[in-house]
């Protein structure tokens, strides 16, 4: 980010206009996010008025006890979960797209979400609930699953140092299908039918379940680590876009970057999956939209993607839980409806690349 500051001072290559526009965009996204959070927190079966909510935050307390419980035990955790999931998915999508040098990479499409679900299922069905250093085995296994599957897909999809669309999609499809059915298989092995099944079903549909505060704090830590790790990688992904050999010549240690992106992308995927399961296409749409607005520079894309991803999924989840009330739509259904056609459009647009 320091680059932007000095570039606007020196004003040589990009000029002031672009930096200015970029700051405006971040400001607008942040403002929209605040508004969306306030509205989403108020919406639901029991209406909590925004003004009363804000007054209670400042301590003048005009909310009823019921409203207070709904706000702190139901609404806020859910809103926070949607923000974290959306942001984590979008940032990991951005990282994977940079690594694969392919705008069609997305944690869902390339199987890392599937790996996280499968890993988490092992935790739910086969292991007793334990925690290691505050992290539940489920979260850790989700991370391990994401890490394993992305490594496998990366290895399968690469042809001569490139990742063509065809091999990426085929390898991602095969790996994520195997992993989804492995999760079903684990479900069959489970002897006490009940909670595990329901948890798995909500994961596979992509529902942001009602999280508890301890769950949320674990995921928040994972998200923070992932986001902080992405910051130094952003500029390196710009260089990596030139190709591995060229990037190596310029002094980039490609192997280290590769490992860092896979690990950090997996942490973010696991964070998202732990709360929301298989939510498709979010990691694809958000970076792509922003690329149209701010261009392909990952240093600019990273903060914008983190904000826009959170905003997008919060809106989608709020629609999903209120549109057909009292029933609830899995937000994964909604993102698939929006993201699916968008993905096909991108695929169609890049078909010359598919042919190669």
């Amino acid at each position: 980010m320091t680059g932007e500051v000095t570039s606007s001072r020196a004003g040589t290559v990009h000029g002031r206009g672009q930096d200015h526009r970029h700051r405006w965009l971040l400001g607008i996204l942040a403002a929209l996010l605040v508004v969306a959070v306030l509205i989403a927190t108020g919406m639901g079966a029991v209406h909590v008025p925004v003004l009363a909510m804000m007054r209670s935050m400042t301590g003048s307390g005009s909310l009823s006890a019921d409203q207070r419980i709904i706000l702190f035990n139901i609404r806020l955790p859910r809103v926070l979960a949607a923000l974290l999931v959306g942001s984590a998915l979008s940032v990991s999508g951005l990282l994977f797209q940079g690594l694969f040098r392919n705008p069609l990479a997305d944690p869902y499409i390339i199987g890392s979400s599937g790996g996280a679900v499968c890993g988490a299922s092992i935790g739910v069905f086969l292991l007793p609930p334990l925690s290691i250093a505050g992290f539940s085995t489920t979260a850790l296994l989700a991370f391990a699953g994401a890490l394993g599957s992305i490594t496998l897909v990366y290895w399968l999809a690469r042809v001569d140092g490139r990742t063509p669309v065809v091999t990426l999609l085929l390898a991602g499809f095969a790996v994520s299908t195997m992993l989804s059915y492995s999760s079903y298989f684990l479900e069959v092995l489970d002897r006490d039918f009940g909670t595990g099944m329901r948890v798995l079903a909500s994961w596979l549909h992509g529902t942001i379940a009602q999280p508890t505060w301890p769950q949320l704090s674990i995921v928040t830590v994972m998200f923070a680590v992932g986001l902080a790790g992405s910051v130094p990688l952003a500029r390196k992904l710009n260089t990596l876009a030139l190709g591995e050999e060229y990037a190596t010549h310029l002094g980039l240690s490609v192997q280290q970057i590769r490992i860092a992106v896979i690990v950090i992308g997996s942490i973010l995927t696991a964070a998202a999956v732990a709360l929301g399961g298989l939510i498709s296409f979010t990691g694809l749409i958000i970076p792509h939209m922003l690329r149209i607005v701010v261009g392909p520079d990952h240093v600019r894309l990273l903060p914008a993607t983190a904000l826009a991803g959170a905003l997008f999924l919060l809106v989608a989840d709020t629609v999903a839980r209120t549109a057909i009330a009292p029933a609830e739509l899995p937000v994964g259904v909604l993102t698939a409806f929006i993201g699916g056609p968008f993905f096909l459009y991108l695929l169609r647009k890049s078909k010359h690349e598919v042919m190669s």
Binding site: M1, T2, G3, E4, T6, S7, R9, A10, T12, V13, H14, R101, N102, P103, R162, V231, P232, R235, N238, T239, A241, L242, G243, E245, Y246, A247, T248, H249, L250, G251, L252, S253, R291, G295, P296, D297, V299
Partner: protein, 259 residues
């Protein structure tokens, strides 16, 4: 005078196919070397060895009397810039953003470009006459523009030595002469150049020496006037007399007239 880059008895093989065998050669400052030879003779391999992206199987490559394999690639890239034949960029980076990547070897772990970096980028783009292209998308440039922008990226590294892999490839005749002019300009800036060349007609007048590589013979070097003689070229390129390239016929005719 110590050479900029020196090959000391360097050999390199790709999976048992020997490409370079016991090469001894030196690149001095202010030199402008045309790398000539048939396909598969190892021209690109030699450029990669000089840029540190390949390590010799035997022998040593020295950069200003220090062994390349003991240096970090970042350090090498501050003295030697390699401009590859083909660059594919998956996203729509602008020319400005593309050339900025040349500053990568100077950046700190977390830092971005600073004033001096932007100055180097600007200078590189002005030298290559690409400053006016800085807002354009790299992928949408024409072949000639793309070639100049790639060289601008190399110049942004502020190198002592510029390695050009087939800079004339896919260029029409007008753009080829522009490229020759650019190489002349860069020589004037005191940058040593090694370029692999297929079009022998463009070498004389611009390049100070020719390195002729052929698959099974040791590399020969000398000034263009001596190296670009038909019998030497014919032998290196294995041209049968009936398949002799037209250029050589011209050269031979010229020599016969002169005699």
């Amino acid at each position: 005078m110590t050479p900029l880059v020196e090959f000391q008895c360097v050999s390199f093989a790709y999976e048992n196919r020997n490409v370079i065998r016991d090469l001894d050669a030196a690149i001095f400052a202010h030199e402008c070397i045309a790398l000539v030879g048939p396909n598969g003779a190892g021209k690109t391999t030699l450029l990669r060895l000089a840029s540190g992206t390949l390590t010799p199987a035997r022998g040593k490559v020295m950069l200003k009397s220090r062994a390349l394999d003991g240096l970090k690639q970042r350090e090498i890239a501050r003295s030697v810039a390699f401009v590859p034949q083909n660059v594919e960029v998956p996203f729509s980076f602008t020319v400005g953003q593309f050339v900025e990547q040349g500053r990568t070897p100077f950046l700190k772990m977390f830092g971005g470009l600073c004033g001096a970096d932007y100055e180097a980028v600007r200078r590189a783009m002005e030298l290559t006459d690409t400053w006016s292209l800085r807002g354009r998308v790299f992928n949408q440039l024409s072949g000639g523009e793309r070639q100049r922008v790639k060289i601008a990226l190399g110049l942004a590294q502020e190198p002592r030595l510029l390695l050009l892999d087939e800079p004339m490839q896919h260029l029409d005749i007008g753009r080829q002469f522009e490229m020759i002019d650019l190489i002349d300009t860069l020589r004037g800036e005191g940058i040593a150049i090694v370029a692999s060349m297929h079009d022998l007609a463009l070498i004389e007048g611009t390049f100070s020496s020719v390195w002729l590589m052929s698959p099974d013979a040791p590399m020969q070097q000398g000034p263009p006037a001596r190296m670009l003689r038909p019998e030497i070229i014919e032998d290196a390129f294995r041209c049968l007399p009936r398949h002799r390239p037209r250029l050589l016929e011209h050269a031979r005719g010229r020599m016969e007239r002169a005699l």
